[in-house]
């Protein structure tokens, strides 16, 4: 080191606290306590400049209440609005729910890693199994849209959804459209309603049941409660899918989102900058340690 650090290296995002002003333009109820919000950038230039990759997250900022890390669910069809699906749990998300359409707030991002699409190619045409637990479908939504858009690069695409009850299934209105576009969708619930005709039980059971003809070239991407994802990974192993083909996304209270505040550490990983999307075998052992 020099007494004066070489700051030419200090390029990169020099304004990590830069916040874009955005406004909520539409709110759509997805499930009890879960809403999808469409955000519009107040400044046209911000909208032009902003680009994210599926799996990344934004920090949504309600002045006075604080920030919350929320995964990016994608854009609206016409591309004008940015979608976030949010469960109302904490101070910030409550303020957003209360604010509703027309609410003005701040957005920093995008941050973190994204789903591994380098694995898709015309030659390999890998099969993909997307496994979502409840609102865990949110960070997978834009992945599914990507797979639909790049159909020629992938083999079969299956989406397995597990929810507590039928009304906890998010993006119901879009599922039909996805399935028309070649995505095979299976839904299972823990607690069926009277008129439920689908599957009942945990989502890992579905993974045990579907046909996996080419396990070596099958990719699994999952988001949901940590326990669920660990069982998804285990089921995938049982079905002879290699560990390096399993990807998951983790959450922990990101405060700065840029790897400087320390809150979201899992062992040596900063979930905000090394994740939130990880290859399973890179974090498997860390997830096993209690209270780590």
């Amino acid at each position: 080191m020099n007494a004066k650090p070489d700051l030419t290296k200090a390029r990169r995002s020099s304004e990590p606290w830069h916040t874009f002003p955005v406004t909520i333009r539409r709110v759509c109820a997805e499930a009890p306590n879960v809403m999808t919000y469409d955000f519009e950038f107040d400044n046209h230039s911000d909208a032009q400049q902003y680009a994210f990759s599926p799996g990344q997250f934004n920090m949504l900022y309600v002045p006075g209440a604080g920030e919350a890390a929320i995964s990016i669910a994608g854009r609206t069809n016409e591309g004008r609005f940015l979608k976030h699906t949010i469960r109302t749990v904490g101070v910030v998300t409550q303020a957003i729910a209360k604010g509703g359409v027309g609410m003005s707030l701040g957005l920093r991002g995008p941050f973190g890693t994204s789903w591994p699409v380098d694995f898709f190619s015309h030659q390999l045409k890998r099969d993909v199994i997307v496994v979502a637990g409840g609102i865990g479908l949110a960070p997978l939504r834009s992945l599914v849209l990507f797979l639909i858009q790049h159909r020629e690069k992938v083999g079969s695409v299956r989406l397995l959804i597990g929810a507590r009850s039928p009304e906890d299934v998010v993006y119901e209105s879009e599922l039909h459209e996805w399935s028309e576009n070649g995505v095979e969708i299976h839904v299972t619930v823990d607690r069926p309603s009277l008129n439920w005709r689908g599957q009942v039980g945990v989502v890992t059971l579905l993974l045990g049941r579907i046909a996996i003809p080419r396990p070596q070239s099958t990719l699994v991407m999952t988001c949901g409660p940590e326990v669920m994802m660990r069982y998804v990974a285990k089921s995938a192993m049982d079905r002879k899918i290699p560990t390096e083909n399993v990807w998951l996304t983790l959450e922990r209270n990101m405060n700065c989102a840029i790897g400087l505040c320390g809150h979201c550490q899992l062992g040596p990983k900063f979930i905000c900058k090394d994740g939130p999307v990880f290859r399973y075998d890179y974090v498997r052992d860390l997830l096993r340690v209690q209270h780590f």
Binding site: A3, P63, D285, L286
Partner: protein, 390 residues
Amino acid sequence: MEEPCLIEKSELNRLIERLIREGFLVLGPRVEDSAILYCEIQSMRDLPRGYRDTQEPGKYRVAESNGENYFEFNLGPHSWKQFLFPPKQSVSSCKKTDNGWEFTTNVDSPPKFAFLGVRACELAAIEVQDRVFLEGPFVDPVYQARRESTFIIAVNCTVAASTCFCTSMGTGPKCKSAFDLALTELDDGFVVEVGTTRGRSMISDLNIRKIDREHASDSQLLQQRACDQITKRMDTSGIRNLLLENLDHPHWDDVAKRCLSCTNCTMVCPTCFCSSVTEVSNLSGDQIERERQWDSCFNVDFSYTASGTVRDDVRSRYRQWLTHKLASWHDQFDSSGCVGCGRCITWCPVGIDLTAEVAAIRNTPFSNRTLPVIQPVSKAACAFPKDFKP
């Protein structure tokens, strides 16, 4: 590096004056509140001349001695971290307008700092924080603005405290680089080493003498004395794996019985960098500052997920601190997070000594050892094509 030279003690005053004249805020050691703290310094009169400190696990005392030296003491509770990474700092602010919120990133213009009396382990600590704040994928603008202009006058230790273990961490006691000027205090003057051209020009108008053989050997002897006084040791061989494969070692329960989870160790640590941003609003709620404050992994609500607190017992919080500092820091920043300054030992109210805790884990083999597999995530494998717009 050029030959060291010698200056009369009083010349240090002229150096301080020059720094002040050139617009630096000179910060250095000073006796305040029964401790040697880092405060603003106007002249050599402010320095703790003739003061000595005694340190033990959980104990710190400062007393006048009959010595005449300005720097014959060791580290107090302060570190230079508080100037480069302020305990409280606004990072951004927002104002309510007719069209919603207006956000501003705060780019403050901090004073130019001149640090006087930076010890070898503290130079190493600054180097560690440089890696954290300047060399990752994101640069911290607050740290960067302060670090860029800071002028560093290091001082070689001539005495050591019982809590010092820089020799184990390979960081001291001699200042080898990363300073503008480095001083070694003799009875009749300071030996000055020049580290940068900026340092060279800052002493251009001082009365500099060539160093003779006697001064050179005195300086050597004093530095050796500090080295010899260091008795605390930490065996760092294979320490990363040692700690990570012993995450379930019963000794963590033993530490947890003593640790108060008070956060003192993280506050005095010169490398701990955890923080939280809080909202500071005016009464009408239309003008808000986002204030970043030091935080600590010893706080219960420091880490949580949707399903609750991650580390809800003292055992897991102490384990987090120690394994981060000594093990996973290597994965994250390619160095240890510990520089061997011993502050966490001195300022622990119950005198927990990390070197003893590491030794206990090393010396009591635990049958259930497993080393977690930790590999770096390849960024390339995660990158989406830039033109992708879902």
